[in-house]
């Protein structure tokens, strides 16, 4: 049965679902990349995703408009980001710990709203697959890359966009300056506070969309703790990707391809205990981190409080 793994259809299936599974990690990971590059560790990603996922699902279910659902996730994620920004920037609260607070808040609130407003697990008709003309007809490649839903395409488009923003624009320069040496940036007239507000809210928005990509594009359901640790993995992938959008893409793809592989292994009935198979992406991520990232250092001002000398 192991040989089944190497048939063309299965390989294409593994790759296609790997691409799809990378979507939420990309949104959340790119968002987290921005906030960490500016010096703010947002550990509340999971909570933002859960609330975003619920908002998107609820709005999509009641209005039958998926884009309104995405908009709801953007608003909810943005508000969570705003709160996180206020607490960590103005009130100078310890970032990692406030993030855990926001995670618990999102976990509890999304569960509460789910039980009170939905009651049972319902399904929604999520974003359909969009076949990109011509490209989707290319054998193998078309099937893997160009027959996905629209949120998948946007997620992958975000990577070069984020790279461009960080490396080729003034705003990106400011973000990096604020994350490396806020005092120097401040003395050059860059508003540390404004830049960090921008990145943390952007992070919240993208985490919200990451949640939406789960609840109305990939799984098309909402239930308690829908994300089950996915947001924390996304944060981990930022470290993995060494704070670079392309690195995050690499991490997200590696993680989700291995995940996809283990899912297919189970589908094909290959005799590996499923619990052990599920461990694989996590173990692999740790191993790669040990081998690769140890040489890259995080943004210098990450998690450090910035206080303007008067």
């Amino acid at each position: 049965m192991i040989s089944d793994l190497f048939s063309m259809t299965v390989l294409v299936g593994i790759l296609a679902s790997g691409i799809r599974l990378a979507t939420p990690y990309l949104y959340a990971g790119i968002g987290e990349t921005f906030s960490q590059r500016s010096g703010v560790l947002n550990l509340g990603v999971e909570g933002q995703m859960l609330l975003g996922a619920f908002a998107a699902f609820y709005v999509a279910l009641t209005t039958e408009n998926l884009w309104l659902g995405v908009l709801a996730a953007i608003v909810v994620g943005g508000l969570m980001g705003l709160a996180m920004a206020f607490v960590t920037i103005n009130l100078q609260a310890e970032q990692g710990i406030s993030g855990i607070g926001f995670y618990l808040f999102g976990l509890g609130l999304s569960d509460l709203l789910f039980q009170k407003m939905l009651g049972t697990v319902e399904t929604v008709k999520g974003f359909p697959k969009v076949h990109i003309p011509i490209l989707s007809d290319i054998p193998v490649i078309g099937e893997i890359f160009f027959r996905q839903n629209v949120l998948v395409y946007i997620a992958f488009a975000l990577v070069p966009l984020a790279w461009f923003l960080l490396n080729k624009t003034t705003l990106g320069l400011k973000i990096k300056a604020v994350g490396e040496n806020p005092e120097a940036a401040d003395s050059l007239g860059v508003s540390v506070i404004r830049v960090r507000y921008f990145t943390v809210i952007l992070g919240g928005v993208l985490s919200g969309v990451a949640g939406a990509s789960l609840s109305i594009a990939l799984l098309n359901v909402f239930q308690q703790n829908l994300t089950s640790g996915l947001g924390f993995i996304a944060v981990a992938l930022v470290y993995f990707g060494a704070w670079r959008p392309w690195g995050v893409l690499g991490g997200a793809l590696l993680f989700s391809l291995v995940n996809s592989l283990q899912l297919w292994v189970q589908v094909l009935g290959i005799p590996i205990p499923s619990d052990i198979a599920v461990m694989m992406p996590y173990i692999l991520t740790i191993l790669v981190l040990v081998l690769a990232v140890s040489r890259v250092r995080p943004p210098s001002a990450l998690t450090k409080i910035f206080e303007r000398e008067e």
Partner: protein, 385 residues
């Protein structure tokens, strides 16, 4: 001088009051949420109070819930003081419980007085190992501990599912079609003594004793001094001759060990077996995260973590009663716990502002000796050399 003293006393009072104010603020937000859900908040909170403290049994349940929070929280006090953010409490609890349960299921011919301490010790060690892996990865391979502890949580949950479905499954379940993923029950002689008729077990007392020991460890021993010194200023510690990497590992090892003990105590004190619903919170009851909340609330002080754990134990137990009486999902309390954390860390700004002011005054008076950090006696020669 007396004016100075009374000012300090007042400042201490505010420090103690801040977490309480933060809780009240969170409960007020909760009241608004309850109103939005068209529930009378007074009625809901009264149900919570009764559920947590209303009877002997309620109080005992609160303490049963508080015990793992305190143990995990003690570990958090150690690691966070060492500036190591251990969010792997879930995994460390699970591995500690698995290891300790193996003892009870294997040494069936042994007397209880031998098996219980061995099992607790093995659980302690199991958690220490699971915490030690991210410790070594952080110290020697520069892998961020937040990331690795999260991964280790996920791995531990799968390990538990695998063990309870396979090698450790209850033999009677293995024959049934249902195959509930659980271990056999522990022998009656292997169970921690209980204060009948409640479920309050000896573990609660052990946890309180350990809180005192952790206090002594952190403030009265060289190890503790060095863990805290590394946490406050790793560079200065390195110059002072402290082997920083070693103390990073130690902080995570100890932190994991206490979580592991929390896990094994759930088995030997409360459930008498391990059972999984496949999720991370199923076995741990979210103690992995709520223990962090309790420790922060106790201002990362082992003794302060005792009342903090009782408070959050009460919230958790009370939430169940509230759910039954006014039909508000207990998830509300999870959300409020999150708010408490956010409020508590936000309120830290007052303390920091004041400390800064005090430091400025102290520097002006040229008596800036930091009383928290007398010179490390073991290291002085190295500094001189």
């Amino acid at each position: 001088m007396s004016n100075h003293n009374s000012e300090r006393w007042f400042a201490k009072l505010i420090d103690t009051a801040l977490p309480i104010l933060a809780t009240i603020a969170a409960l007020l937000v909760g009241a608004v949420m309850l109103l939005l859900l068209k529930v009378n908040p007074i009625e809901a909170y009264r149900a919570m109070w009764e559920g947590a403290f209303g009877s002997q049994n309620a109080l005992a349940e609160t303490l049963v819930k508080a015990t793992p929070l305190l143990l995990v929280g003690l570990g958090i006090c150690i690691s966070f003081r060492g500036d190591v953010i251990n969010i792997g409490g879930v995994g460390q609890m699970i591995v500690g419980a698995l290891a300790g349960t193996v003892v009870g299921l294997t040494l069936v011919d042994w007397p209880g007085w031998a098996v219980i301490p061995i099992a607790l010790l093995v659980g302690f060690i199991g958690g220490a190992l699971w915490g030690g892996i991210p410790g070594v990865l952080k110290a020697y391979f520069n892998v961020n501990e937040i990331l690795s502890t999260v991964m280790m949580n996920a791995i531990a949950v799968q390990l538990m599912n695998f063990m309870l479905r396979g090698p450790m499954i209850d033999p009677s379940q293995a024959e049934l079609a249902s195959k509930i993923p659980q271990t056999a029950r522990l022998l009656e002689t292997f169970r921690l003594p209980r204060w009948v008729p409640t479920r309050l077990h000896l573990g609660a007392l052990i946890a309180v004793v350990l809180a005192v020991l952790v206090y002594i460890l952190l403030w009265r021993t060289t190890w503790g001094y060095r863990i805290r010194a590394v946490g406050q200023n790793p560079d200065a510690s390195r110059y002072a001759g402290i082997k920083v990497k070693r103390y990073v590992v130690l902080a995570l090892v100890l932190s994991g060990a206490f979580a592991g003990l929390a896990g094994v105590m759930q088995v030997y004190g409360v459930n008498y077996r391990m059972i999984t619903d496949g999720s991370a919170s199923g076995f741990t009851g979210s103690a992995g995260f709520n223990g962090i909340v309790a420790a922060l609330f106790g201002q990362l002080h082992p003794i302060g973590t005792i009342p903090a754990s009782i408070l959050f134990g009460a919230l958790l137990v009370g939430a169940n009663k509230m759910q039954r009486v006014v039909q508000v999902p207990s998830a509300l309390i999870t959300a409020l716990n999150g708010l408490v954390v956010v409020f508590v860390v936000s309120s830290e700004i007052w303390r920091r502002r004041r400390q800064k002011k005090r430091l400025a005054i102290a520097t002006a008076e040229v008596e800036g000796s930091d009383e928290d950090f007398p010179p490390d006696p073991d290291n002085e020669p190295e500094v001189l050399a």
